[in-house]
């Protein structure tokens, strides 16, 4: 498994204390929703790129920049590489011709609208992904759980989330042990893709069994400590907004007012002046 995938699955929190880590998780969650919504409201590649850069600056402050850029690039770059050429030529709202490309004797016209569309969409996804990573990777699991408590989620749902977060690294460790054990017993991993797929059951079956066993032990241990007692639980982690949270929130509110003004006065594409229907966005 690639180190990035492992890192995301493990959801390792950077062992650092940055202003971003100190922000209240509710504020960061609000920011994730807020910037994702604005990225979808505006259909303007310059503005969406500004959104993405803003989020990346925050991830830089939160010391998760490299990880975020890597994940965003995996989504955004291939999408642009494939989407831009296709949409530039075939997008249904294409109107403004930029250039004619000669390819194998064919004349292929490239249009501004398709190009813009091909750039905006991956950038939007990039904004969502980067802001989600910013929220997840700068929030300690316990604060995440405290957030769910604050949202009055059912306790069993909260535990399901916590369990999933917690079990992923345990599963990955188990998988490594099983792979090493099976290799020691002759499992070949330097074989073709088909053969590797055929090898999967010898890894997945023991992994599933060991996981089920661990899940059961954990469930028993929790139940033995009164997990399902029908009483109001006491939670040791209270979330309270600090000065820095209010400053961040004030920034969000001020920017929202500016965005509303821009949208009402200049429309959904204030910088690039894209002309096609908003429904297209």
């Amino acid at each position: 498994m690639s180190s990035l995938a492992t890192s995301i699955l493990r959801r390792s929190i950077a062992e650092v204390d940055t202003p971003m880590h100190r922000l209240d998780p509710r504020v960061k969650f609000l920011f994730f929703i807020w910037i994702s919504v604005w990225a979808y409201i505006f259909l303007d590649y310059t503005l969406t790129a500004i959104f993405l850069i803003t989020v990346l600056i925050l991830t830089f402050i939160g010391k998760i920049f490299k990880k975020t850029v890597k994940a965003v690039s995996i989504i955004v770059v291939p999408w642009m590489a494939v989407g831009i050429p296709i949409l530039s030529a075939l997008f249904p709202w294409n109107k403004t011709l930029i250039y004619n490309v000669q390819l194998f004797g064919y004349n292929i016209p490239l249009y501004y609208e398709g190009l813009a569309w091909g750039i905006v969409w991956p950038l939007r996804i990039g904004v969502c992904l980067a802001s989600a990573m910013f929220f997840l990777f700068t929030t300690e699991p316990v604060k995440l759980i405290a957030l769910l408590f604050n949202f009055r989620m059912p306790f069993r749902f909260i535990y399901a989330v916590a369990g999933a977060l917690q079990f992923t690294p345990i599963l990955l460790d188990d998988l490594q042990t099983i792979i090493q054990a099976q290799r020691s017993r002759g499992l070949r991993t330097d074989v073709s893709l088909l053969k590797r797929l055929a090898n999967y059951p010898v890894l997945i079956v023991p992994l599933t069994l060991s996981t089920l066993n661990k899940v059961q032990i954990r469930a028993i241990a929790l139940e033995s400590r009164g997990f399902s007692a029908p009483v109001t639980k006491t939670w040791p982690y209270d979330l309270s907004l600090k000065r820095r949270d209010y400053i961040f929130l004030a920034g969000i509110i001020a920017t929202t007012i500016i965005f509303i003004y821009i949208y009402l006065v200049y429309g959904f594409s204030p910088i690039n002046h894209l002309q096609f229907y908003i429904a297209a966005g």
């Binding site: 977060l165 345990i170 139940e223």
Partner: protein, 287 residues
């Protein structure tokens, strides 16, 4: 100090898992307040099932069929949920890491988890957590992450999580089975200390040598049935009986048995090293 008052009563108790019949068969016994009650037996003898029947996990969690009843401090485990029984019976398992709630950032919060689940006030939770951590020798670890601890420390933490609930009975299901020698020493020291304070402890254990030091009575199980139940000295001295079902008695006891069996030297069977030193010393001095 062991009182005569029974805190646990098994009455004709039998239990079968949905997939494994006769996990426990016709268990009749009493455990007294303040008693250190050892449970031994080969693999599959029913030791873990016995432990889980004390807080109602058997049958509530596993299903299956049961006969008879188990009373814990007057509460029928069939009629009360495991959550309700959690302040009566605290259960510690083999594997330290899987017992962690995963919802607590610090050791102190992990200890308080059970009390949080029962809705105790935050101030009391903190106070109880600190007391429990001090008792298991983890004072100073309060702000550490539970996942940073060693196996022995995690198991002591698991014991602290149970101690914080102030249960009437503490049940330990092979608590040192997966620990390294240092971890074993740390955990057994804590258990001995808790035992010396007069708590009621039920401990299923493979480490019979250690159990010999602090168990008041020992129950021997085999294939779900009671083979012996008596004071530790009596049970562990039944060398042939133990070996027949695949349980090794303490080495010093076995040595005394061999001296008698092979060399015809009749002497009292020791079950601990200090006892052996005294008995064998007297033998060597020709007394």
């Amino acid at each position: 100090m062991v009182s005569n008052e029974p805190i646990v009563v098994y009455e004709n108790f039998s239990y079968s898992y949905p997939t494994t019949p006769n996990a426990l068969v016709d268990i009749n016994l009493e455990i007294h307040r303040g008693e250190i009650f050892g449970v031994i037996g080969p693999n599959g003898a029913g030791k873990s099932t016995f432990c889980k029947s004390l807080n109602g996990l058997v049958p509530h969690f596993y299903g299956g069929t049961m006969k008879g009843r188990v009373l814990v401090d007057g509460m029928d485990t069939f009629e009360h949920t495991t959550a309700e029984l959690s302040t009566k019976v605290g259960l510690v398992f083999q594997e330290p890491e899987t017992q962690l709630s995963g919802l607590a950032l610090t050791v102190e919060d992990e200890v308080g988890f059970g009390l949080s689940m029962l809705g105790f006030p935050a101030k009391l939770i903190r106070q109880r957590a600190r007391e429990a951590l001090e008792k298991v020798g983890l004072k100073g670890f309060e702000r550490r992450s539970p996942f940073e601890l060693s196996g022995g420390e995690q198991q002591r933490l698991a014991i602290a999580t149970v101690l914080a609930m102030k249960p009437e009975i503490m049940v330990l299901d092979e608590p040192v089975a997966l620990l390294d020698p240092i971890g074993k020493y740390e955990v057994l020291s804590v258990i001995k200390e808790i035992a010396a304070e007069g708590s009621t402890i039920v401990i299923a254990e493979h480490e019979i040598e250690e159990l010999a030091y602090f168990a008041d009575r020992i129950l021997v199980l085999n294939e779900g049935r009671m083979v012996s139940l008596d004071n530790a000295k009596m049970v562990l001295s039944e060398v042939e009986k133990l070996k027949k079902i695949g349980v090794d008695p303490p080495s010093v006891t076995e040595l005394a048995y061999l001296l008698e069996h092979d060399l015809g030297i009749k002497l009292e069977y020791p079950i601990t090293l200090p006892e052996a030193l005294k008995i064998f010393g007297e033998l060597m001095e020709g007394r």
